[in-house]
């Protein structure tokens, strides 16, 4: 069967098998940041954004994304320049082997879209489906808080801090 969908704003029209997984199609299209890892919906390394919401591409049929928008980590850096989240992850030493990072970035980006001032608990809860087996989660959590701070200060619209006057 044939499906049409966008990946990082680029339109793709591709012939697929009905049982094909989104992770398989994305990798076939060259989006190798999307990792086909545990294949049991446990690790989150295959996370991508579907219409802006993080989903597991190893638990999504490509057939079901016909007409939808997919975003992978490649879509967050612009012309080789890292996004605030990516840069903060590097600066905080939150990347070791790097395998979990693409999935982590797309999930963290979705969190920051919903909540630009998350506390530690909110970050841990939102990202509890993204496993990391190298650096642990302390540096990742700090990195996301830092990225949020950078993004808050760069947005022209003032962000209301809960319970505090800014």
């Amino acid at each position: 069967m044939k499906v049409e969908f966008k990946v990082n704003d680029r339109k793709h029209s591709i012939e697929i098998k009905p049982g094909e997984l989104l992770v398989e199609t994305l990798r076939r299209l060259g989006y190798k940041s999307v990792k086909h890892a545990c294949d049991t919906a446990s690790c989150g390394a295959c996370s991508v954004q579907l219409d802006g919401n993080p989903v597991l591409s190893c638990r999504t049929f490509t057939a079901a994304v016909d007409g939808h928008d997919v975003k992978t980590v490649e879509g967050f850096s612009k012309e080789g320049e890292l996004s605030a989240v990516q840069k903060a992850l590097v600066d905080e030493g939150a990347v070791q082997c790097g395998f979990c990072i693409p999935g982590l970035v797309v999930t963290a980006e979705a969190l920051l879209k919903e909540n630009l001032n998350p506390n530690e608990e909110e970050i841990k809860t939102y990202l509890n489906g993204n496993l990391c087996r190298c650096t642990g989660y302390v540096s990742q959590t700090h990195a996301i808080m830092k990225a949020a701070e950078i993004r808050r200060s760069s947005t022209s619209v003032p962000v209301e801090k809960r319970g505090e006057s800014s």
Binding site: P18, L21, V55, F61, A63, A64, L111, N128
Partner: protein
């Protein structure tokens, strides 16, 4: 995997597609896809419900909340009336999978999957929810699920919506015990709803307040989610104190009949279930 993937736009088309044998309905696919991939289900046809606009609705009526078939867990959690009127359902859904799974999975999918470990299912049992079929009939959730993966859904029909009657509860509690905080299937789960005569009181107070109505359910300890009706009856008119909790703990031990599996032994689960009710004493509010 040799099947066709169909995406109908209307309920009429959907129903027409369903009449063929070997057809499976899919919303987010978080359960079905797993079964297809491991070969447990070999569909001839997978019908996606996601483009049927009349199934994507949330209705906050005066006496009930109606949840359409394609409403995801995430959409439900962002719906304000849910947190206000059904905090126990909110708490239960919050433990499902991870953000990624909640963005795809639906509450209707959770009940049709009919797992004894269904987290949303447990809250719906406590809330006396009802299931609406495509033929218009509405039945209590406890008559809908009859065993692991088994429901009374007639062939050729589908679940349109879930109806949850509104009711005021003074105390609500949900806890899922798993091997990990996210992406886990429960070893055992418990939930209770309590109405107190003359309102709640805090632990430090003493007073004449007693339990007016009590509902308690366990997950992962029987072929279906289990409401413990003997405990519910026993609780009426009692205070929540150590003696009471000790008594119901003994009853719980007799009521649950878990099995040994990869997530835990039957013996461990029995003890766990009996111990979980002691949370009632630890909680700040009582009656």
């Amino acid at each position: 995997m040799d099947f066709t993937f169909i995406t109908p736009d209307t309920e009429k088309e959907l129903k027409a597609q369903l009449s063929d044998r070997g057809s499976f309905l899919m919303a987010g696919g978080t359960d079905l896809l797993v079964k297809v991939r491991i070969g447990k289900i070999k569909p001839r046809k997978v019908i996606s419900t996601l483009k049927v606009s009349t199934l994507h609705f949330l209705e906050d009526k005066t006496d009930e909340l109606v949840i359409g078939a394609t409403i995801t867990h995430s959409e439900l959690m962002k719906f304000k009336p849910l947190t206000r009127d059904f905090p126990i359902l909110h708490d239960a859904i919050f433990t499902i999978g991870s953000a990624q799974i909640r963005n795809r999975g639906t509450l209707v999918g959770n009940i049709v999957n009919a797992s004894p470990a269904g987290d949303g299912l447990l809250a719906l049992y406590l809330l006396n929810a009802k299931v609406e079929f495509s033929d218009g009939s509405i039945i209590p959730i406890e008559e809908f699920v009859i065993g692991p993966g088994q429901t009374t859904l007639p062939a050729g029909e589908y679940v349109r919506a879930i109806h949850i009657p509104k009711d005021k509860w003074d105390i609500h509690y949900f806890e899922k015990v798993g091997q990990r905080n996210s992406m886990t299937i429960s070893v055992a789960s418990v939930g209770w709803l309590i109405k107190c005569k003359n309102g709640v009181m805090f632990s430090s107070e003493r007073g004449g307040r007693t339990i007016e109505e009590f509902r308690i359910a366990y997950g992962s300890v029987a072929p279906t989610v289990l409401r413990l009706r003997d405990v519910e009856e026993f609780a009426k008119g009692k205070h929540i104190d150590e003696e009471f909790v000790h008594s119901i703990s003994e009853m719980v031990k007799k009521d649950v009949h878990p099995i040994d599996d990869v997530r835990g032994s039957a013996e461990y689960r029995k003890t766990l279930c009996a111990n979980l009710v002691y949370r009632m004493i630890e909680e700040e509010v009582k009656c």
